[in-house]
């Protein structure tokens, strides 16, 4: 289950100008990362991930309001993605193999991120909540659109940022696509 959506002001000790600067830096990092994915620069993308990254997309179900706390599967149960760095490296290696047919001819993707909200800062770690839209077309007429919410954990390094956690909460229950061979 995702953490409650945090719409309150950021829970940080930062002054407004410092928070504005951090917001700018975080946004630039996320835009850069999205660009790497859209340009299929996966080797560069993988270098932005920390050793302890957790990349996870739980399964969503339609439930009644009364049981809405069971809408998403819990960590450790079934999911669509539940990857560590080693697994993500395999995914990237697969795409570079030259015969990953789901991505050859390559899909055309465009990643959008919006509503970027810094929900907490602790030491080097920045918790970010955002909305995303991943749009994909393939071949003549295949079209996929995945919209959802992400909880990212970004870690500050010497002179940049790295991604330490990405939890992805899609708006779809039944995935209306033949596969999810793109990275979110």
């Amino acid at each position: 289950m995702p953490e409650q959506s945090n719409t309150e002001p950021s829970n940080t000790e930062l002054s407004t100008p410092d928070l504005m600067l951090l917001q700018f830096e975080v946004e630039q990092f996320l835009y850069h990362e999205a660009k790497l994915l859209d340009e299929r620069r996966y080797d560069e993308w993988i270098n932005l991930l920390t050793e302890d990254i957790h990349y996870w997309m739980p399964i969503r179900r339609t439930t009644t309001t009364r049981e809405i706390n069971k809408e998403f599967t819990e960590p450790g149960a079934m999911a669509f993605f539940d990857d560590d760095l080693e697994m993500l490296k395999m995914r990237v290696k697969k795409m570079a193999a030259g015969n990953a047919w789901s991505e050859d001819p390559p899909s055309r993707t465009r990643h959008f991120v919006s509503n970027i909200h810094i929900s907490g800062v602790q030491g080097d770690e920045i918790k970010v909540e955002l909305n995303f839209h991943l749009y994909r077309t393939r071949l003549e007429s295949e079209e996929d659109s995945w919209i959802g919410r992400r909880q990212d954990l970004i870690r500050r390094t010497d002179n940049s940022f790295m991604l330490a956690r990405r939890h992805i909460f899609l708006e779809q229950t039944v995935i209306l696509s033949q596969n999810m061979s793109s990275m979110f």
Partner: protein
């Protein structure tokens, strides 16, 4: 080349299949009636609905059903449609409830489908409504085999055990006999623009991995040998059930039984490193039989339930029109395994299968393009080739009565599926099907 005529879409002698069966609307509608509504369909595993009031939505063909444990602990399968205006009475995929309430006019149904509440019963209906007659319609028959719940909409259907026969039972035993299994929370679902039969066809197909899944093999996530085993063990059963894929050799089985003899005589239920150690369990050997215990292949419970034995999963292929199929993945673990071992099994399932799985990512496009290839007026006229191994292998019968075809990569499972499919489509009713379906093959195949 034999001309395929109407009602004769499958040419068994020549291993040819008319492509129109993958796109024709009329054929599809007939399948819904003669195969799905008539046959036994997998509903869920009992571990998904342990308590009274637990429910799980599923389909029989395109008829949506509620699978629910009632107040007497009986599993009911109810059509999800209010008899008043047809509205659905259950909108959640799963959960727990006290009753099913129609959001249109407020008719309320008990867990066994009985109509128990009608707003305006006295003032509007003047009491003139026989509540006993207007409950939710029930599946004609519901039965469970070792916790796997099946239902049919045909009151004349033969008993589940007879329908499954030894081959269908063996398919389910390959999961059931791995221990006290339960379904892990979370059913992965996704849609592919393909005919459901092409998805089923693929599960017997050990010809495609080296090509379709070349990129996954390249990453080292699995060995090339495991994806392309040279020896194959095919088991064919009545009513269309079939198992295709690798087997454990007789020598290997003997070694397993020696090596793990102690394992099942103690209280040690932890799964050891070898994924095949459970085959040394005497109870499993008893249940699966001397041939069955050696099967490592992929069973299909006709028409659309794949038992994916590598990761102890079931994959249901639900028809959504002739050109669309929904895949539902159910993942099983033995309750008694350690948290760590369960986690390894669950992660394996996530990483291999489902829409983001390293293997399955590359299947959907092939199936959807194969489906598309059945639509052109000229393209669709050309039969598909299912001739691999045709007439070249022999069925080996064991003293136990079980039989298998031990060979190399082949298309026996696919041919058997299409042959049986045609028999189901031609039969007018169950007694016709019982009379006119192919018996288990013997001799040369």
């Amino acid at each position: 080349m034999n001309l395929i005529t109407r009602q004769n879409w499958v040419d068994n002698d020549n291993g040819l299949v008319d492509r129109r069966i993958f796109s024709d609307v009329e054929i599809y509608q007939t399948e819904l009636k003669k195969i799905f509504a008539r046959g036994w369909n997998f509903m869920c595993h009992e571990s998904q609905i342990p308590e009274s009031g637990n429910f799980f939505l599923n389909y029989i063909g395109e008829d949506q059903v509620i699978v629910v444990r009632d107040r007497n602990q009986q599993v009911q399968v109810l059509l999800n449609s209010c008899p008043h205006r047809g509205n659905t009475v259950c909108r959640a995929d799963q959960g727990k409830t006290r009753s099913f309430f129609c959001s249109y006019h407020g008719w309320n149904f008990d867990l066994d489908g009985k109509l128990v509440g009608v707003p305006g019963f006295e003032p509007f209906y003047k009491g003139d409504l026989d509540k006993d007659k207007w409950g939710l319609a029930k599946a004609a028959q519901v039965e469970s085999y070792k916790g796997f719940v099946f239902a049919t909409l045909d009151p004349d259907a033969i008993a589940l055990g007879d329908f499954l026969g030894w081959v269908g039972r063996l398919g389910l035993d390959l999961i059931a006999e791995q221990g006290d299994v339960e379904v892990v929370d979370g059913i992965q679902k996704n849609r592919i623009q393909c005919n459901w039969k092409l998805a089923v066809d693929n599960l017997f197909d050990w010809y495609h991995p080296k090509v379709s899944h070349a990129s996954a093999i390249r990453t080292g996530i699995m060995s090339e040998e495991s994806m392309y085993p040279m020896s194959q063990m095919v088991i064919l059963g009545e009513y269309g059930h079939a198992i295709g894929g690798p087997g454990v050799s007789e020598d290997e089985q003997r070694r397993l039984e020696e090596k793990y003899a102690d394992l099942y005589s103690t209280a040690n239920l932890e799964k050891p490193k070898s994924p095949n150690s459970w085959r040394a369990n005497q109870q499993a050997i008893q249940e699966l039989g001397p041939v069955g215990i050696r099967s490592k292949g992929h069973p299909n419970i006709f028409p659309n339930l794949w038992v994916s034995t590598g990761g102890t999963q079931l994959c249901l292929r639900l028809p959504k029109g002739p050109l669309e199929t929904e895949l539902w993945w159910f993942t099983f673990v033995n309750r008694n395994l350690s948290t760590e071992t369960k986690r390894r099994i669950i992660q394996g399932a996530i990483h291999f299968f489902g829409p983001a799985g390293m293997l399955e990512q590359d299947d959907g496009e092939n199936w959807s393009h194969s489906t598309r290839g059945s639509r052109g007026v000229v393209t669709g006229d050309r039969p598909l080739n299912f001739r691999m191994g045709l007439g070249q292998d022999k069925v080996r019968s064991d003293q136990s009565g079980q039989s298998s075809i031990e060979t190399v990569v082949n298309e026996h499972g696919q041919r058997w599926t299409y042959r049986s499919w045609q028999e189901w489509m031609k039969a007018d009713n169950w007694s016709d099907l019982v009379k006119n379906h192919s018996p288990e093959p013997k001799g040369q195949v």
